[in-house]
Amino acid sequence: MEQLTTSLTPRPATNKAPVAGSSQQSSGSVAKRLGNELMTLMMSASPGISAFPKNDGNLFEWVGTIEGAPGTVYAGLSFKIAISFPPNYPYVPPAIKFETPCFHPNVDINSGGICLDILQDKWSAVYSVQTILLSLQSLLGEPNNASPLNTDAAAIWNNQEAFKIHLLRHYRPLKDESA
């Protein structure tokens, strides 16, 4: 530990610009990591998920899209998701919520808030937007009914016919905001 703390002290050579450097540096590295993730997302082309920064200027606000997996009650529906990265990302998880109303046991139908462990206490710095979107996609088909945010949805999950009716009643198809 001693060598760690000693090597943590800043070098005398870099003393000239003392305060402004560190915060700029960290936001620079977050931006770099987010750019890296964006690249990975675009290159890997995972089916049914995508994400992109809201506008060119701000890398910290993204919009993602999840399509319901085939074979689930959500098949054929797509959901818009707002992703907001904190300045100390990836050490803390991004704030995530459904923009499209989503009738689901673990999603708040009004606020779009999501109850998913990896977005709270189970978050790890090695997770990425891609991990999150894939987890959300699988959460749609396999809800955790033990701790529901939407008790109505949890109650009728076992009756998929009735569930689908409720789901479609709440669902508003995506409108492209940029158009």
Binding site: M1, Q3, L4, S7, L8, A13, Q25, G28, S29, A31, K32, R33, N36, E37, T40, N88, P90, Y91, V92, K122, S124, A125, V126
Partner: protein
């Protein structure tokens, strides 16, 4: 170390060297002792600020569990090539060398002026153009150091002050110091003819009043100047010649080295120009007759080309068997050929090899001089090694002939195998039929003995058995006949 976010890696990076947290190549990598995962030092320490867990497997983790990663990992990431973090700088280098580049040589780094009191900051590349008013200069009048900007002010008051000459005691203003130094009567002087050998030393006054008029060298000054001019011309010429000799020597040295390497590379192909270059073709055909090429025409060749002894001192003599050996070898070959061929299959390979050597010889003849073309029919039987041909060409030809030989050898071996198998089969069949014959004979013997026994008064139940082997014997004969027919 500059911020890792600023590194721009020139090449693609092995994904195993990427930190899971920042997705960049490890920067100052540390490994967890509990689970063996590696992260950048900053990344994992920041992560530990939020939760005491390994980000990859959630094992409990504290800063005490971290130790610097293996040196091999460190050097792998330290040797990655990055661009200089100054966008305008095109320098690229190993990551570990970038810091040094920034600290000492990058022309786009801002550096403060080294002069005390000057607070100007400029790019290192432009520092040479900076005329610093704080740099110290020496006053020529009083020998004190003054800042450049204040030199003018200093001079104005410095020059007005009076000073005394140490030698003659004259008082004058400092501004006149340099002019007095050139005229002070007491200053030590040497004779202007010192270069020609005058050893006189004395005061300036004495030089002009006493010495010049009596100096023997001064009297000869006209001669000295002419002499000096001539020496100068000779010296100039000499330096030019020296330089020329030096360059010639280096040229000779390079040529010698080249020659040496060339002769080494050529091996036996290299020879001195004064050794037997006059008739390369004949001496070669004598010395380089390959005994490995089987040929019917070899003996005839012997009679056509006039027998010649190997030239003395020829570098090739050692590489090839002497004439007698070749001849004895050929005699053996010939006698082997005169023996009746045991199987006509065996004759084909010999012929095919001959055909190969024939075509090879034709190929080489294209490279030959007209003189050798006259004896084409004969000479083509032997693979001719020709020194007038390039080494590459000859090597190419030799390689081709080796390839041809090896294929012929292969065919020969295969045909030999076939012939041997056929022969063995045939012998086997013959053996079988002989066996059957013997069996039949034995049966007949048996029958005759039985008949004999009958004559002595007993009936024979084995009479039927007796006739069967005789039939089978006939069948064996038939089979062996058809098989030998197909073989042919």
């Amino acid at each position: 170390m500059p911020s890792m976010a600023n590194f721009n890696y020139v090449d693609g990076v092995n994904p195993n060297l990427l930190c899971c947290i920042c997705r960049m190549p490890f920067n100052d990598p540390f490994t967890t002792q509990t689970c063996g995962h590696t992260f950048c030092r900053d990344c994992i320490l920041q992560s530990l600020d939020h939760v005491y867990q390994c980000p990859i497997d959630r094992q409990a983790l504290t800063a005490d569990d971290l130790k610097p990663a293996d040196s091999i990992i460190r050097s792998l990431v330290d040797e990655l090539v990055v661009e200089c973090t100054n966008q305008t700088c095109s320098h690229i280098c190993q990551r570990q060398l970038l810091e040094q580049h920034l600290q000492s040589s990058c022309p786009y780094v801002e550096v403060p002026c080294p002069s005390r009191g000057c607070d100007q900051i400029m790019l290192r590349g432009e520092a040479v153009n900076h005329r610093c008013e704080y740099s110290l200069v020496t006053c020529d009048a009083c020998d004190t150091e003054v800042e450049a900007a204040q030199l003018e002010d200093h001079r104005i008051q410095c020059y007005q002050q009076l000073t005394t000459c140490d030698l003659c005691g004259l008082q004058f203003q400092r501004s006149a110091k340099s002019s007095h130094q050139n005229s002070c009567p007491e200053s030590p002087m040497q004779c202007p003819q010192q270069v020609n050998g005058c050893s006189w030393k004395g005061k300036r006054v004495a030089l002009h009043s006493e010495h010049i008029s009596s100096c023997p060298y001064q009297a000869l000054s006209g001669f000295f100047s002419i002499f000096h001019e001539r020496t100068q011309v000779l010296q100039d010429e000499n330096t030019v010649l020296k330089r020329r000799v030096e360059s010639l020597q280096t040229q000779i040295r390079t040529i010698e080295i080249q020659l040496q390497s060339a002769s080494l590379a050529l091996g036996p192909w290299f020879r001195n120009s004064n050794l037997g270059l006059s008739s390369p073709e004949t001496s070669i055909s004598d010395t380089l007759r390959s005994p490995d090429l089987p040929s019917h025409q070899r003996p005839r060749l012997q009679t056509v080309s006039s027998p010649r002894s190997v030239p003395e001192g020829d570098a090739f003599a050692a590489y090839f068997p002497p004439q007698e050996e070749i001849q004895s070898y050929e005699r053996q070959q010939l006698s082997a050929m005169e023996r009746p061929a045991p199987d006509r299959h065996l004759e084909h390979p010999v012929r095919s090899i001959h055909r190969n050597s024939w075509s090879l010889g034709q190929g080489w003849d294209a490279l030959h001089t007209p003189a050798s073309r006259t004896s084409k029919q004969v000479a083509s039987a032997v693979a001719p090694l020709d020194f007038s041909c390039t080494l590459e060409g000859t090597l190419e030809g030799l390689r081709e002939s080796i390839v041809a030989l090896s294929t012929s050898m292969e065919t020969l071996g295969r045909r030999n195998d076939i012939a041997l198998t056929n022969e063995t089969l045939r012998l086997n069949e013959e053996l079988m039929s002989l066996k059957a014959n013997i069996h039949g004979l034995r049966m007949q013997m048996h029958a005759m003995m039985m008949d004999n026994a009958q004559l002595t008064g007993r009936t024979d139940p084995l009479l039927f058995e007796n006739s069967f082997p005789t039939v089978s014997t006939h069948r064996y004969h038939y089979m062996s006949n058809t098989q030998s027919a197909t073989k042919l």
